[in-house]
Symmetry: C2
Subunit: 402 residues, 2 copies
C-alpha cells in the first residue's frame, strides 16, 4: 500500500483526492501497488465532507507517520508550503507539487534535499497544468539540444485575448466577464501583468539550461495595454495576439527569458490556442518544432498531473527524479538583445513620422483614426532608441512572433 498525504484541501488538493479515488484502478495498477490517501492537511474544518475523517490540522502527524511515503503539496505560496515540503523531504518522503511559485524560487534546493534523502521532488503540475511538458522535456526529448521554448502559460490572459478578438470587446470589459465566469481572480494582477507566466517560463528555462533562472528578474510585460484597436488591426492583418513566455538559448548557453504579448500569424499552432487552453512550443536542434497543448489549469486536469507524479514516485521510488537544475544562476541575456519585428499603433496624422523612423516597415491597416504598422527586424535596444525619437506618436507596440 502506498500511503499519500495531501497538504491543502483547496481546489487542486480536493482534485488530487478525487483523481486518486475515482481512477484508483488505473492509479494503483500504474503504481504497482494500491494507492490510498491517508491524510489531508488543512487548517479549516470540512464538516460533512466524505473525506472528513482523513483531515488533520498538524503537519507533524504526517511527518512522523512512517507509513506515509508521498506528500502532495497543493497549498501554494512560499511560506508554510516551503517549510512542510522540506520537512517531508528530509524524512525521505517524496513531494509532488503544483506550486509554481515555490518551484521557481526554491526548486533547485528542494531537489537537492530530495536527492540527499533518497526521495523525489516532482512538480509536473506547476507548469501547464495538465500538459505533461516537464516530463516530456526531461524524459522524452533527451536526445535533443533544446534551443527555444515559447509558451502560452496562463489561461486567464489567453481567455481575455481570445474573447477580445472574437467579440471585439475592450480589455476592461473582457476582464470583468472573465471574473464573472471564474476565469480571472478578484485581484487579477499576477495573471494580467504576466507574473504567473514569468514563474512558469522560469521553470522551463531552468530545465532547458540546467541552471537557476530568477523569475523576479524575468522582464515581464502584461496585456493591460492592449486595446480593442490593437486586436482589430492585428486580426485584419492575419494575426492573433497571445501572451508568451519565451526562453531563448544562445550558442553559448546563455538564456534570454521574458514575458510579453506577441502578434502570432494565424496558421501558426500557437495562434490556434484559444480561451483557457495553454500550449508549450519547443524547438530542438534535431527534432525541430513540437507543441504540447491542453488545459493549463482547472481542478481535475491539474490534479491529474500531481497524481501522475505520485505514480512516478511510487513506481520508481527514489530513482525517479527530473534531471533538474542546480542552484547556480543561468547566464542571462537581456531580452532586448533578441531581434524581432514590431507592430506599432499610431494616430493617422503621425503615420509619416513613424514610417520615417522605420523605413523598412509597412502599414498593415487603419481603424478608428489609428494606423497599424509592422517594422523591419530590429533588436529591442534599436527599437527602443527609435521609439524614443517618436515621443508620444506611438500609442502601443507589440513584438511579432516568427
Amino acid at each position: 500500500m502506498v500511503h499519500v498525504a495531501v497538504f491543502g484541501y483547496g481546489t487542486v488538493g480536493s482534485g488530487v483526492v478525487e483523481v486518486i479515488e475515482r481512477n484508483n484502478s488505473y492509479v494503483s495498477a500504474n503504481s504497482g501497488d494500491k494507492v490510498s490517501v491517508k491524510y489531508i492537511l488543512d487548517l479549516r474544518e470540512f464538516p460533512g465532507d466524505p473525506y472528513e475523517s482523513k483531515l488533520v490540522h498538524d503537519v507533524e502527524t504526517i511527518i512522523n507517520d512512517d507509513e506515509v511515503s508521498i506528500c502532495c503539496e497543493t497549498m501554494g505560496g512560499v511560506g508554510a508550503a516551503y517549510k512542510f515540503t522540506k520537512m517531508a523531504l528530509e524524512k525521505g518522503k517524496s513531494v509532488c507539487s503544483s506550486n509554481k511559485e515555490l518551484v521557481a524560487k526554491h526548486g533547485a534546493e528542494l531537489m537537492r534535499i530530495a536527492r540527499e534523502n533518497g526521495c523525489a521532488y516532482l512538480f509536473e503540475a506547476s507548469v501547464g497544468g495538465g500538459i505533461p511538458v516537464l516530463r516530456t522535456l526531461t524524459t522524452a526529448l533527451t536526445a535533443e539540444r533544446i534551443t527555444k521554448i515559447a509558451g502560452i502559460l496562463n489561461g486567464t490572459t489567453n481567455f481575455i485575448l481570445t474573447r477580445m478578438e472574437e467579440d471585439g470587446a475592450d480589455f476592461d470589459e473582457t476582464l470583468r466577464k472573465a471574473q464573472e465566469l471564474g476565469y480571472a481572480e478578484k485581484d487579477p494582477t499576477a495573471d494580467i501583468e504576466g507574473h504567473d507566466t514569468a514563474r512558469k517560463i522560469s521553470i522551463l528555462s531552468d530545465i532547458m539550461s540546467g541552471h537557476f533562472t530568477d523569475s523576479d528578474a524575468v522582464k515581464t510585460t502584461g496585456i493591460t495595454g492592449i486595446t480593442a484597436t490593437d486586436i482589430t488591426l492585428a486580426k485584419e492583418a492575419g494575426f492573433s495576439i497571445r501572451l508568451l513566455g519565451i526562453a531563448d538559448r544562445s550558442e553559448d548557453d546563455s538564456v534570454a527569458a521574458f514575458v510579453a504579448p506577441f502578434l502570432v500569424k494565424k496558421g501558426h499552432p500557437l495562434a490556434g490556442v484559444c480561451d483557457v487552453f495553454n500550449a508549450i512550443y519547443v524547438t530542438g536542434n534535431m527534432l525541430g518544432e513540437t507543441m504540447y497543448y491542453g488545459k493549463g489549469a482547472g481542478k481535475l486536469a491539474t490534479a491529474s498531473a500531481v497524481v501522475a507524479d505520485v505514480i512516478d514516485a511510487a513506481r520508481k521510488g527514489s530513482s525517479t527524479m527530473y534531471q533538474g537544475w542546480d542552484e547556480t544562476p543561468v547566464k542571462a541575456t537581456p531580452a532586448d538583445d533578441l531581434e524581432f519585428k514590431y507592430y506599432v499603433r499610431c494616430p493617422e496624422e503621425k503615420f509619416d513620422d513613424v514610417q520615417a523612423q522605420f523605413p523598412g516597415g509597412c502599414r498593415i491597416g487603419k481603424f478608428g483614426g489609428e494606423s497599424g504598422f509592422i517594422t523591419e527586424t530590429l533588436s529591442g535596444a534599436e527599437f527602443e532608441a527609435r521609439l524614443a525619437k517618436l515621443g508620444d506618436a506611438v500609442l502601443n507596440s507589440i513584438r511579432v512572433y516568427e
Copy 2:
C-alpha cells in the same frame, strides 16, 4: 561505455548515427554513460562514408558481441527485422525501433521476449515520428482513463490535403507535386489508402486498451476519393479535411479503431495541423483534451525519438518498459456503431432527394453544379442504409469530427 548497433543504414538509421554523434554530449549525459555506435548493419557498401569502418554485413557479429547492449532497428518490414529483433532481445540486448509495421504486428510478443530476457523493446519513433506520444501515454498520463485518441498520423496525406485546400488543386495533381518534393513515395498506396495510419492507430489503441489491436482488421478509408470540390465546399463552410486515425474506447473497454477522412471545424487544434506535421489528440477522463504536435516523419526527428529510447534503455537498464499490451485481442467495436454527422456531396439536381433522406441536415454550399450537405447525427449503419436508398445520387460522403 554504452555500445550501440544500428540495423539498417537508410534514412532513419543514418539519422540515428548522426544524432548520437552530433548531440553526443546530451545523449551521453542523459544516459549516465558515454554512448557510442559500434556497428552499423547493412547489406550494402558505403564507400567513403565517415562511418564505413563500423559497417558489418552479418548480424551474428553484433548478436555475439557482448559489449553491444542496445540495437536500433530502423530496417522496416516484418521479415529480417523481426528475426534480428528477436535474436537481439533473446541475448538481453534492448531494441529501439522505428518500425511501425513490426510493432503493430508483433509488438506484444517482442515486449514479452524483452521482459523474459531482462531488456526492453522500445518504439517511440514508430508513431508520430518525433512526437513523444507513446512515452506520454505510458509515463505521463498515468492517472487517467484514456477514452479516445484521434491522430493525424501520416504526413504525406496531410500535406496533400493541406495543399489541395491552399491551392484549390485536384488530388492527382497534388499527389504528383508531393512526389516531386519527396513527400510521397513512388508507390504511395500505403499512405494515401490509409494503411500507414491504420498501423499507427493500432499501436495507440494497443497502449490505450492494454490488448492487441489487429491493424489488418482496422477499417480504413483513404483520401483518393476526395475532390477539389469537396475541399472547396468544406472550406467555405469553415472546415478543413483531415485523415484521422481514431481509437474510441467504450465504457466496457471495447475499442472502435478506424481510419477515415473527416471534416474538422476550423478553430479545432487538429484543423490547424498543416502540411507534413502530425498531431495526436488524446482525451482522458480527468484531464480532458490534450494534443501533441510535431514532425511525424523526417530523418532527424524520427532518429531523435529512436535515440531517446536508447537513452531510456541505457539509463534505466531493464527496468524501463512501456506498460505495453498483451497478446489477447482487444474487444473490437465496429466503427459503424459510432455516431457522426456526415458531409455528403451530390449533383444540384439530386439535392431534394438527399434532403428527403436526411431531413435533419442542412446544405452548406454549392460549387460547380454540386451541393454540399451535412446530415443529422447518425450511426454508420443508419447512414449507409439511407445512402443505399439514394443510389448514385451521392458522389462522396465524409464524416464530421466533433
